[in-house]
Subunit: 369 residues, 2 copies
């Protein structure tokens, strides 16, 4: 049994755990930086290791199109290809074929779409998604699902039914979790009964982990919290729970309080490229004139390379001059900020003072004082 | 005397030396990566240190315009601003006002130009170039000179006369080399008599180092070598000699054989952004299909992070996907390649077998076999 999950401590609904995989153990809760095209944008894997990252997400859709999952397989799989020795998670491609592909046509069997790169025609089905993810070789792989607007009930009903049917086919195509653990994805938007149907059905397939999909795609924060409130209790306690695409610092706190174990988000690297830095006092725009002569680090509480060595004045200069080093340094900081935040919450769960940490963090981060 | 130069070994005209500065000693010959806007493009200073870089060049013209040399001075100077504890060299701004500025009008007193960033009007004179370079605080600073087409004799005659007159004013404005050593720049294109006039005149001002300007700007390699052949012998043996803007591996070899000590060039980072890698077998295009499944490193003889950890297949994927990590990894490799090449030549001078090294290197690099 190379994949298993231990909950080592709980506080309320929150859990501190250890997720064991073929490529090593991950302390949970864990935040996974996103390496869309087999690279976390601007950040070498050596630096991710230094920052405490232990799980990286890569995209099935992107890597299937370029360089091709068979090429990655022939070169020894994703870990070796991207020189990342720690665990990797791949998504199913489902989200991207709906959001990125130029034309996509969905039927009960799968999705036909045109590549956003060259317009070439492709088809993804539950079976081909499994094949691609097996070729890529990640430690955690995801069922092929249909994502939908979280407040459009009519479409969500179809989406849940189809996601359930596809989950059966994914499970059949990938019955053995010893090399790669296949997670089911709970859909149903903000509707309690739909989430309930989805979660109950997926558990009949006995996945080694469950994801909550279809959030952080336009609903309010209150809707997200309420959805977590009624979805997490109906997932098994002894399996890891993964909230897909969520990475805002306040959302991480709310979700960890409610019992989520795994997160991923492009936010820290994406906002870095726009010149934004995460700090305990909220997100700040490092291009602002106020930083022009500021000799302080971006975040004086941070231990990352950016904050240990460089001033706000220098970071602002790099951004104004459109120098890549500025995007790199802010990416390093933003990822480290989220990892440190999640590590602090894990320590607080173990220490029994999670709610104090979260209250103090939110008070300051959201400037509620 | 915080700035001085020791020649510790010679072989023929080639010299191995040590250049002492306020920010530490540099073994020569030395190749300086270029940090145009106070950053070597894509490469953090920590990595430059790891790669053995000990001297970085920064641009007076760019930093005067953005973020402003007074801001850099107020924040403690360039070393502190860019978090680079080792020696820094600044150019005079002369080259950029002719090549980059939108409109430049030159007179005997200086140059009036419009910024390439926002069109604002600026003026550089020998005195203001000294003031800006003093504000920036580099260890080695350069006289404000007039660069010209190396084969246009009529313009070169004016350029040499003006560069000489400006050198007098630079020396008067910056008479003391203890904090920052001011180098004179020999002009004169490919003409022996003009180089002779320039070199002889500058030596009356007793600079602590001499640069050869106006090469690697369009002349043939034979013209460059010939110019070095008649220019280096008329420079003082006990002062460092800096060949500006030269960095092609074969040019470095030819120039070191002839007695040059210091080099700088944007080439390694610029060609990296175009997907080119320097190897012992010449420059190769890493975007080529032949690398798509190649599990070898870019350069199997190299000890850099790129070559130790990543395959050609992965680098090619990053380039095709336009991922910044690809430009970073090739920049790291290309800079390390040049530094290692120059270090090997220094070791060969010390060991007495420089010509064997250079012959073998050129044979392979230029594919002369």
């Amino acid at each position: 049994m190379s994949f298993y999950f231990d909950v080592i401590k709980t506080q309320g609904n929150a859990r501190a755990g250890v997720l064991h995989t073929l490529h090593g153990a991950i302390e949970t809760p864990v935040f996974a930086p996103v390496g869309t095209q087999a690279t976390v944008k601007t950040v070498p894997p050596r630096d991710l290791e230094d920052m405490g990252a232990r799980l990286v997400l890569a995209n099935t859709y992107h890597l299937h199109l370029r360089p091709g999952d068979e090429l990655v397989r022939d070169l020894g799989g994703l870990h070796r290809f991207m020189a990342w020795p720690h665990p990797v998670l791949t998504d199913s491609g489902g989200f991207q074929v709906f959001s990125l592909a130029q034309i996509s046509r969905i039927d009960d069997d799968g999705v036909t779409f045109r590549s956003h790169i060259d317009g070439s025609l492709h088809r993804l089905t539950p079976e081909s998604s499994m094949q691609i993810q097996e070729n890529l070789g990640a430690d955690i792989i995801m069922c092929f699902d249909q994502c939908a607007n979280p407040t459009d009930r009519a479409i969500l009903e179809t989406s849940v039914a189809r996601t359930n049917a596809w989950a059966v086919r994914c499970r059949e195509a990938h019955p053995d979790d010893t090399q790669q653990a296949l997670f089911g994805i709970v859909q149903g938007g903000i509707y309690e009964d739909l989430r309930g149907q989805s979660a109950a059905f997926l558990q009949t397939l006995d996945f080694p982990g469950y994801a909550i999909g279809g959030l952080a795609v336009g609903e309010t924060k209150e809707q997200m919290c309420r959805t977590l409130d009624f979805t997490l209790p109906i997932l098994p306690d002894d399996k890891p729970r993964y909230l897909m695409g969520v990475g805002e610092p306040d959302d991480l706190a709310q979700a960890i309080l409610r019992g989520v174990d795994i997160f991923d988000c492009v936010m820290p690297t994406r906002v870095a490229r726009h010149g934004a830095a995460l700090t305990p006092d909220g997100r700040i725009n490092m291009r602002n004139l106020q930083h022009a002569r500021d000799e302080n680090p971006v975040d004086e509480t941070c231990d990352c390379y950016c904050c240990r060595r460089f001033t706000r004045a220098y970071i602002r200069h790099l951004l104004k001059a459109e120098e890549i080093l500025g995007y790199y340094l802010l990416s390093v900081h933003n990822i480290r900020f989220l990892i440190k935040h999640v590590q602090a919450m894990r320590a607080a769960i173990v220490g029994g003072d999670l709610s104090e940490y979260v209250n103090a963090f939110l008070q300051r981060y959201l400037q509620l004082a």
